[in-house]
C-alpha cells in the first residue's frame, strides 16, 4: 500500500490512519506495529521540520514479504539529510544533562532491523525493515 501526505504536522492523523490500515492488511503484531509507527512518525516529523516550506508531499509505502515489513518514505525536492548518520544519543547522562531532543532516531533504530538512506536528484528515500514477531 502506498499513499502521499501533505508535508505538515497536521497530516499525522492521516498518516496514522493509513498506517493502521496498512499494518492490519499486512497482519502485523502489536509490538511491530508500534515500532513501525514510532519510526514513521519520527522520520515524517523530521522531514516536516527540515523542509517546512516544501510544497511537495511525502510518500509512504508499506509492504510485507514473508515475515518482514518494509516501509519506504520518499521525500522529494529536498536537500540530503542522512538519518542513519545521526549521532547516538547519550542515554546514560544524568537527568540534568540529558538533552530533550535527539532521542527519536536512536529509539527507532533500536526498534527496527535496519534503516537505510538514499539520496539522488533532490529525493531522499528512507527504507526500513521490521521482522514481525509472530
Amino acid at each position: 500500500m502506498e499513499r502521499m501526505f501533505r508535508r505538515a504536522l497536521a497530516s499525522l492523523d492521516e498518516v496514522f490512519n493509513f498506517m493502521d490500515e496498512a499494518l492490519a492488511a499486512c497482519g502485523s503484531d502489536p509490538a511491530s506495529a508500534y515500532a513501525v509507527n514510532f519510526a514513521v512518525e519520527e522520520f515524517f516529523t523530521n522531514m516536516v521540520k527540515y523542509e517546512p516550506e516544501g510544497d511537495h508531499g511525502v510518500s509512504i509505502s508499506v509492504e510485507r514479504e514473508a515475515n518482514r515489513l518494509t516501509v519506504r518514505m520518499v521525500d522529494t525536492g529536498v536537500r540530503p539529510f542522512d538519518v542513519t548518520n545521526a549521532p547516538a544519543a547519550d542515554l546514560s547522562a544524568s537527568l540534568k544533562e540529558r538533552p530533550v531532543g535527539g532521542l527519536g532516531i536512536h529509539i527507532s533504530r533500536e526498534l527496527l532491523d535496519s534503516v537505510t538512506y538514499e539520496y539522488g536528484e533532490g529525493q531522499s528515500t528512507i527504507t526500513f525493515v521490521k521482522t514481525l514477531e509472530t
Binding site: 509490538a31 508500534y34 519520527e42 537527568l95 530533550v100 532521542l103 527519536g104 536512536h106
Partner: protein
C-alpha cells in the same frame, strides 16, 4: 485521539495516542505542574519521541525543586520504549502492583 485530564487529586490521566501533533495540548497541562504528581498511563496506547520530550522537559524542571513525575500503569509496548530510551533511569515507573518506591 489523544486525551489529557487532571483529576481532583492532581493525578494526570493520559489516553490514546500521544504524538508530535499533541505536544501543545499536553504542555498546556504539564507546564502548570509544580508538585510531585502521578501520571496514569493505563489508557495510553502510544507515545512517540515528541511525547517523551514533554515528559523529560517537565521532569527536568520539577527536579530543580526536588519534585518529580511518577509514571504509573504503563502498557508493555510503551514501557519497552521507556526502557530503550533509558527513561527508567530518570523516572520512577510504578506498575501499580508494588508500593510506591522511595522518592529520591
Amino acid at each position: 485521539m489523544f486525551g489529557i485530564t487532571v483529576g481532583d487529586d492532581g493525578e494526570i490521566h493520559l489516553s490514546g495516542r500521544f504524538d508530535a501533533s499533541r505536544v501543545e495540548q499536553a504542555e498546556a497541562v504539564f507546564n502548570r505542574v509544580t508538585a510531585t504528581c502521578r501520571v496514569d498511563f493505563s489508557d495510553l496506547q502510544y507515545i512517540s519521541s515528541a511525547g517523551l520530550g514533554v515528559l523529560l522537559k517537565t521532569q527536568k524542571r520539577l527536579s530543580a525543586s526536588g519534585k518529580s513525575l511518577i509514571l504509573i500503569h504503563m502498557n508493555k509496548l510503551v514501557r519497552d520504549v521507556f526502557h530503550i530510551a533509558r527513561f527508567d533511569l530518570v523516572f520512577q515507573i510504578d506498575d501499580g502492583q508494588n508500593p510506591p518506591l522511595k522518592m529520591s
